[in-house]
């Protein structure tokens, strides 16, 4: 069983829920940028929630099926077509042997999750099928898909078509996207005034936004509290002695443009961080297009944990709905 890649799309990779446990040697967790959408897609086609799917950024691939399968597309509003006939997103549909799955232009969001019954059966690498392209690890040959690739599929359970996730349970970013952040880490390096306008300024996603991190621009530069550079840190006021970077951490090189690290994060480096976007909001970042407006808002640990539980509740409701 296999699917043939006719056109790869812009950047389509194999992803599951990731590869924890190797961050201490620089291998990030990887996996779907929008975890909730990946789980939903797998549930729709009857796969385990952690099965490997295709994550397509901005532009969908064109895939030829050599076997019958059930498919679901979640996450971004990327309308699917089977032999040219449109299929609803967030809903399972059948693709017959010999048919071609393609996509119309993106309507909303940034990343679509294409789950196929049986899951993409590439070999496990350090316990995961996720692609970490920077390290050429996992996924299909450690890279994004190319025309001519043939992806093996696992044995499918043959889930019924027409299963759907109610609109109220689908989650996407608003406009502007509001990203909740816990201030901390090296927050003390910026002035009180800078700390205030960071949260009141409106930012825009910069073109440099990928699986490693999302860069934002448009806000005022951050002013630093003066200091004598510590030995080994470097002379720029935004430098620190190279340290580990949390997932979701917000670094601001030279105080200019914040970068939020995501699933393929560089694990460490020499730039100070002013806080961390909470785990519940990382999915949303994965659905932001370049130039999308965004604002950061400060939250406490209690609020972060409440948001985490809210997200878990939504997942439980998705499971219950199917």
């Amino acid at each position: 069983m296999a699917i043939k890649v006719v056109k790869p799309g812009l950047s389509t990779t194999v992803q599951d829920l990731g590869r924890p446990g190797y961050y201490h040697i620089g291998i990030p967790i990887s996996g779907a940028m929008d975890r909730l959408a990946l789980r939903a897609a797998n549930l729709l086609v009857g796969n385990p929630e952690n099965a490997a799917v295709l994550e397509a950024s901005f532009l969908g691939p064109e895939l030829e099926f050599t076997e019958d399968a059930t498919v679901a597309v979640t996450g971004a509003e990327l309308p699917a077509r089977v032999d040219g006939v449109e299929r609803a997103t967030w809903t399972s549909f059948a693709v017959k042997q010999g048919q071609t799955l393609s996509f119309a232009f993106l309507k909303a969001g940034a990343r679509a999750y294409i789950a196929i019954s049986g899951g993409i059966d590439v070999p496990l690498a350090l316990g995961s099928r996720s692609t970490y392209t920077l390290g050429a690890l996992g996924g299909f040959k450690g890279r994004k898909l190319e025309a001519g690739d043939e992806l093996p599929l696992g044995a499918g359970a043959g889930a019924p078509e027409g299963r759907t996730i109610p609109r109220a349970l689908r989650r996407g970013p608003g406009s502007p996207a509001v990203l909740r952040m816990m201030p901390g880490l090296y927050w003390h390096r910026i002035t009180e005034a800078a700390g205030k306008h960071f949260f009141t300024d409106t930012w825009k996603v910069a073109p440099e936004a990928d699986r490693i991190g999302y860069r934002f621009r448009g806000g005022k530069p951050l002013e630093f509290v003066p200091r004598e550079p510590p030995f080994g840190a470097g002379s720029d006021p935004s430098n620190i002695v190279d340290a580990c970077y949390p997932y979701g951490s917000v670094q601001v090189p030279s105080g200019a443009e914040p970068i939020v690290l995501h699933r393929d994060a560089v694990s460490g480096g020499g730039y100070f961080m002013i806080g961390t976007v909470i785990s519940a909001d990382l999915d949303l970042i994965g659905q932001l297009q370049p130039h999308a407006p965004a604002a950061f808002t400060a939250v406490t640990m209690e609020q972060a944990l409440a948001a985490r539980h809210e997200r878990q509740k939504r997942l439980a409701e998705i499971r219950a709905a199917l």
Binding site: P20, G21, Y23, H24, I25, G26, I27, A125, L126, Y132, L134, G135, A136, L137, G138, G142, M181, M182, G184, L185, P230, F231, G232, A233, G234, S235, N239, I240, V241, D242, A243, C244, P246, Y247, G248, S249, V266, S267, G268, G269, G270, M273, G275, T276, V277, I278, S279, A280, M301, A304, L305, R308, Q312
Partner: protein
């Protein structure tokens, strides 16, 4: 020095052992993270030592953030000033300094450099008052280096030179990062050395290249079959300058599975090191030659 604790969102605790880099701060990070690993705390998912800090990733559904924070502080108190001894290994890394590949790359990005009319080695030699390229190579390869952190990208070692602070090589990063760095480039930024495990962007000064792969996601290379990354924090590295002929030979030997890295088990004592740095280093590097 009192450690500074901070939450990194709802899933990380970040601990800065010291603002500035020192062997003491590094050993503190190494000893606390070792103790945390041994404590096997339920809910802790990643333990990442860094140069002068460390980070713990956890699942707040399993352990309350405040409980983990308290437990880490207790472990820090019990660990005290940190361990003074380390059983580790020393690994010899052959380096072709001033190689054609980093040279081609640095020439392409001269407009992003502090001294466009000099190479990275010439510039770093000058600002560290070393006697040209030759003096630089001698200083760079003369004493061993600690792997004080592994990361940025898969398997990339950060290296801290084992000499007194006044003898440590320091250099700024490029004014603007390059978009390209050859794989296995030996680089330097701030007080840290590095080996680029994969090709990609970078801001460190480029001094040379090693023929010895340090990361192999396919695990085909003989000495990386057991695990795809060579380095762990706490390893010790000794550079060995080589010429082009030997570089080519090692590349060929890696390809045919004939190359075995020169490494040896060693014991490091912080007290003995501070008592006589050159003697301690001579003993460490002697282990590479069967002493």
């Amino acid at each position: 020095m009192a450690s500074r604790y901070s939450y990194g969102g709802d899933e990380h605790i970040f601990v800065e052992c010291d603002e500035e880099m020192s062997l003491e701060a590094f050993f503190k990070s190494l000893s606390i993270t070792k103790a945390v690993r041994e404590a096997q705390i339920a809910g802790v998912t990643e333990i990442c030592p860094a140069n002068a800090s460390f980070q713990i990733k956890f699942d707040p559904d399993v352990i309350k953030p405040d409980d983990l924070l308290a437990e880490l502080k207790t472990i820090e108190a019990q660990t005290g000033a940190g361990m003074a001894h380390l059983s580790t290994r020393i690994i010899e890394i052959p380096v072709l300094y001033n190689d054609p590949w980093t040279h081609e790359t640095l020439m392409r990005f001269r407009d992003r450099h502090q001294a466009p009319d000099k190479t990275d080695i010439e510039y770093t030699a000058a600002i560290n008052h070393l006697d040209g390229v030759e003096g630089f190579v001698k200083a760079h390869s003369g004493a061993p280096w600690f792997v004080s952190m592994v990361g940025f990208v898969a398997g990339l070692p950060f290296l801290y030179q084992m000499v007194e602070r006044k003898r440590q090589i320091q250099s700024p990063k490029y004014l603007r990062p390059r978009t390209d760095t050859p794989k296995l480039t030996v680089g330097h930024g701030g007080c840290f050395g590095a080996i680029y495990s994969v090709r990609g962007a970078g801001g460190y000064q480029m001094f040379g290249i090693t023929p010895m792969p340090i990361y192999d996601p396919n695990q085909q290379i003989k000495y990386l079959r057991e695990f795809m990354c060579l380095f762990n924090p706490g390893d010790i590295v000794k550079w060995r300058p080589i010429e082009r002929a030997e570089y080519d030979q090692i590349v060929a030997d890696v390809e045919t599975g004939k190359f075995t890295p020169n490494m040896a088990k060693v014991d490091f004592s912080l007290d003995a090191f501070h008592a006589d740095i050159d003697a301690a280093n001579a003993k460490l590097t002697g282990a590479l030659h069967g002493h």
